[in-house]
């Protein structure tokens, strides 16, 4: 291998129209973030390894690019922004009046198989909202996400909305070793009804409990799903999740935006830090999600400040596959450049705001 000319697997270079498109998409999204009063924060490229493990959980530990600095500390190149921003909100910004609204844009690195236009180094852009009441903050970030998609000209999208508390409440009330809960989660996350039934047959649960677990993969759709779920559970945590989702859904109905939401109580995947709602955004004819987010109330407390938090991030690499390339990525300069062969002439043309090409 010639390391001087090859690029490491998973890295990418954006040139010309691709680079312009990246910046145009970024500007469009930032203008929406600013419009909703989210302040940009530019966090460091690296931090202590532990910061990310706290957030993402040990499951993703091995996907983090880590190294040891000269003092022997274990550092990591950021694999996501949420932990970094939660740390900042809990430390540097702890004196700020709530709610604190932050936004970010930049590259993250994860050691995984490049997939769906996302390499090992990929671009994320998102917002985090700290210290607000879930009833309003959850709706707010969803609205920010929707407006950004709209401004990007993405019309055919669907937001898949669930809550970790629904499944969490059910799990709390069953006595199963962690290993089997993970297995249950795996089966639910792929809606594998057949294997789920087999697993249930092997466990000696009472029928009502089995019925709930077997119903979870089907709890996806509109408002009627919440009514159906309500009939199934009796524990407080699950009911709280249903009521919260009902409330959110009701608000979106009032705004005439409810058809954008799909309730999915079978959605159990996600980073360890999620604690309430979680959502993923899918666009028609793109096989992978373009955005994902949720509530992670416990995360800022890991860094010393107990405050509720919710946020989401876009995958720019994926959004760029669906935005209109004429609008995003076109050369922004209004006129063609002027050829000029003297420095004086070039300076004059630049003062006039013209594009210059020295020859």
């Amino acid at each position: 291998m010639n390391s001087l000319t090859q690029i490491p697997p998973g890295t990418q270079i954006l040139i010309g129209a691709a680079a312009r498109r990246r910046r145009a998409v970024e500007r469009t999204i930032f203008s929406v973030f600013e419009g909703w009063s989210y302040e940009e924060i530019i966090p460091p490229m690296l931090d202590y390894f532990d910061v990310f493990v706290k957030g993402m959980g040990s499951e993703l530990e091995d996907r983090i690019y880590r190294f040891i600095d000269r003092e022997g500390n274990v550092l990591a190149l950021r694999p996501e922004f949420t932990s970094l921003l939660a740390k900042m909100a809990a430390t540097r910004l702890s004196g700020e009046p709530t709610p604190v609204r932050l936004s970010y844009s930049g590259e993250v690195l994860r050691f995984e198989t490049p997939k769906g236009g996302q390499q090992r180094e990929f671009a994320q852009m998102g917002v985090e909202h700290y210290g607000g009441a879930p009833a309003t903050a959850d709706v707010e970030v969803l609205l920010v996400c929707m407006e950004a998609l709209e401004k990007l000209g993405v019309t055919d999208y669907q937001i898949n909305l669930g809550s970790v508390d629904f499944f969490g409440g059910i799990v709390d009330s069953i006595d199963l070793p962690e290993e089997q809960i993970d297995q249950l989660k795996d089966l639910l996350s792929i809606k594998d009804q057949a294997s789920l039934e087999r697993m249930m047959a092997g466990l000696s649960f009472e029928k009502s409990r089995t019925d709930i677990l077997l119903a979870i993969p089907h709890l996806t759709g509109g408002r009627e799903v919440l009514a159906r779920a309500r009939q199934l559970v009796t524990n407080e945590r699950s009911i709280g999740a249903i009521e919260h989702l009902e409330n959110i859904y009701g608000i979106f109905e009032g705004l005439g935006l409810a058809e954008r939401l799909t309730i999915d109580l079978g959605e159990v995947r996600g980073f360890n830090y999620y604690s309430g709602i979680l959502f993923r955004v899918y666009v028609r004819d793109l096989g992978f999600e373009v955005a994902s987010g949720g509530r992670y109330d416990g995360l800022p407390a890991q860094f010393g400040r107990d405050t509720p938090a919710v946020g989401f991030s876009f995958s720019l690499d994926r959004l760029e596959q669906i935005v209109d390339s004429k609008t995003f990525g076109a050369d922004r300069h209004p006129a063609a450049g002027v050829d000029e062969n003297s420095f004086e002439g070039a300076i004059r043309l630049r003062r006039e705001g013209k594009r210059v090409r020295l020859c």
């Binding site: 809606k191 594998d192 057949a194 799909t262 899918y282 666009v283 028609r284 096989g287």
Partner: protein, 206 residues
């Protein structure tokens, strides 16, 4: 768009789709074309190699597909698997030559395993703390231990006859396999009505 695997799954897949009201004018098994429209124009099918079906669906090139659980597990693709279609039942099993004694096995520090399922095999033995050397093969796996290429094999077993005829016996079943309906995660959300409807129709048939 549905990805249908060529080979032994083709006929049962087509039969199942036909009972669900999805029929094709052409004979897919005989045609050389790879893309077909259903008679009612409601859906389009692509013919792919069995091992490739999960890839087409994971990337959303096909919204759904039919693939064996063995292939899905091996591909490590992130997919929804809402339905066991009931046909193509078999096991993924570890087999050894009849004459193998446990002493022989223990004497080896690394066990050589021939298979066309390197991921499944590695995961299975790693979980048991057994060091293995994977010998990747694409067919006639049973041959490997007979000619000294491997100590064990991990392979798909349907009736077990091929194993018996080659002097091999199953020592462990890793998992059961059968044909599964697989669905792309994004398609499931953005084309939910059509997909859920088809899943429910198929569920009533299997």
């Amino acid at each position: 768009m549905i990805a249908i695997a060529k080979g032994r799954f083709l006929e049962p897949s087509l039969n199942l789709l036909r009972s669900a009201g999805i029929d094709f004018q052409e004979n897919l098994a005989e045609s050389r074309r790879l893309i077909f429209d259903s008679t009612d124009g409601r859906c389009r099918a692509i013919l792919v190699k069995p091992m490739d079906a999960p890839t087409y669906v994971e990337y959303g090139a096909a919204d759904m597909g039919i693939a064996g659980r063995d292939v899905i597990l091996e591909s490590q693709a992130d997919l929804l698997q809402p339905l066991d279609l009931g046909f193509g039942k078999c096991k993924i099993a570890v087999a050894v030559p009849n004459r193998t004694r446990s002493d022989d096995e223990l004497a080896r520090t690394v066990v050589r395993v021939a298979t066309k399922y390197p991921h499944i095999t590695l995961e299975h033995f790693n979980a048991q703390g057994i060091a293995v050397e994977i010998i990747p093969l694409s067919g006639s796996i049973e041959l490997a231990p007979l000619v000294g290429l491997a100590d064990r094999i991990v392979d798909l077993v349907e009736s077990g006859r091929t194993l018996v005829e080659n002097g091999l016996e199953i020592v462990e079943v890793i998992t059961e396999s059968s044909a599964r309906l697989i669905v792309n995660r994004a398609s499931y959300q953005t084309k939910r009505k059509e997909i859920v409807q088809l899943v429910e129709t198929l569920e009533g048939l299997v």
